[in-house]
C-alpha cells in the first residue's frame, strides 16, 4: 500500500507545483529578482503549504504511520559548515536556471529538452556527492 501512496503523494505534489506555476522557472526567477520586477508568488506558495503542514505536524500524534513501521524525521540539530556550503551551492544553481529539484522533475512532463539537460546534470550532482562523503540524510 505504501507504494500506491508514494505515487499518489507525488501526483498531488506535482499538481500543486503546476497550479502554483512553480513548475515555471520564469516564476521562480521572478521571485528571486527582488531588485528588479519582483514576483512575490513563491512566498504565497510557501505560506499555503505551511498553513497545512505546520498545524498538522504538531497536532498529529499517532504512534506510527498507517502504512509504515515508524516515522522518519531528521534528527540533526547542529548547524555545520556543510549545511551552509550546500545551501550556498544550491542557491546559486537555483538562481541560475530557476529550477529546484521538484519543479525540475515535474517539468519533464512537458517534454522540454532544457528540463532534461538540467535533471541529468542534477542527478550527476547527486551521484558525485557519493564520492565527496557529504551525504548526511
Amino acid at each position: 500500500m505504501n507504494k500506491v501512496t508514494s505515487l499518489i503523494a507525488g501526483i498531488i505534489f506535482g499538481i500543486g507545483l503546476t497550479i502554483s506555476e512553480m513548475i515555471n522557472p520564469a516564476k521562480v526567477l521572478g521571485f528571486l529578482n527582488l531588485f528588479g520586477g519582483w514576483d512575490p508568488s513563491l512566498a504565497f506558495v510557501m505560506i499555503g503549504a505551511l498553513v497545512v503542514t505546520t498545524p498538522f505536524i504538531f497536532i498529529y500524534k499517532k504512534q506510527k504511520p498507517l502504512f509504515a513501521e515508524s516515522f522518519s524525521i531528521p534528527q540533526k540539530k547542529d548547524l555545520d559548515n556543510k549545511l551552509i556550503i550546500g545551501a550556498v551551492l544550491f542557491g546559486a544553481g537555483w538562481g541560475l536556471a530557476g529550477l529546484c529539484p521538484g519543479p525540475a522533475i515535474s517539468s519533464l512532463a512537458l517534454m522540454n529538452i532544457s528540463s532534461v539537460i538540467f535533471v541529468v546534470a542534477m542527478f550527476l550532482g547527486f551521484y558525485l556527492s557519493k564520492f565527496i562523503n557529504v551525504q548526511s540524510s
Partner: protein, 139 residues
C-alpha cells in the same frame, strides 16, 4: 520596489495542495517530503528505491493529470543554454546533497517543524538565489 506578474491566488491554492501532499505522505508513509533526498536516494540507495521511484513518477504525472482536467496547456519559460542548465543542475544536485535538502525538505517540511537548520538553510539559499539573479541581470 516594483511588483510584476504576481499571482497570489493560484500560488496560495497550489501551496495548499503541496501541503496536502506533504501531510498525506507523512501520515501514511511516515516520511517528510524532501524531493532532493527522494531523488538522490532513488539513485544512490537500495532502501525504499521503488517507493522513491513511484513518487518521482507521480511528480511527472502531476502536470499531465492537471492538463487533462483543466483542459489548459501548461507552458514554461526556461533558458535553452546547455552550459547554464548543466552548471545549474550540477550545483543543485551537489548543493542539496551537501546541505541535506532543498526548497521542499528545508523550505516547507523543515520550517513547519521549526527546525533551526532548515530555517538557516532556507534563508541562505534564498539570499544566494537573489544575489545570483542580481548578478546575472548585470551581465
Amino acid at each position: 520596489m516594483i511588483i510584476e506578474n504576481f499571482t497570489p491566488l493560484p500560488a496560495f491554492i497550489g501551496g495548499l495542495v503541496i501541503g496536502i501532499a506533504v501531510t498525506l505522505f507523512f501520515a501514511l508513509n511516515g516520511r517528510l517530503i524532501g524531493i532532493s533526498g527522494i531523488a538522490r536516494n532513488f539513485l544512490n540507495s537500495n532502501d525504499k528505491r521503488f517507493d522513491n521511484f513511484l513518487f518521482l513518477i507521480g511528480l511527472i504525472l502531476g502536470p499531465i493529470i492537471y492538463q487533462l482536467f483543466s483542459k489548459e496547456a501548461v507552458s514554461i519559460n526556461i533558458t535553452n543554454s546547455i552550459y547554464l542548465l548543466g552548471i545549474a543542475g550540477l550545483l543543485v544536485g551537489l548543493g542539496t546533497s551537501i546541505g541535506s535538502g532543498c526548497t521542499s525538505g528545508h523550505g516547507i517540511c523543515g520550517i513547519s517543524r521549526f527546525s533551526l537548520r532548515s530555517i538557516i538553510a532556507t534563508i541562505t539559499f534564498m539570499i544566494v538565489g537573489i544575489l545570483t539573479v542580481f548578478v546575472t541581470n548585470l551581465i
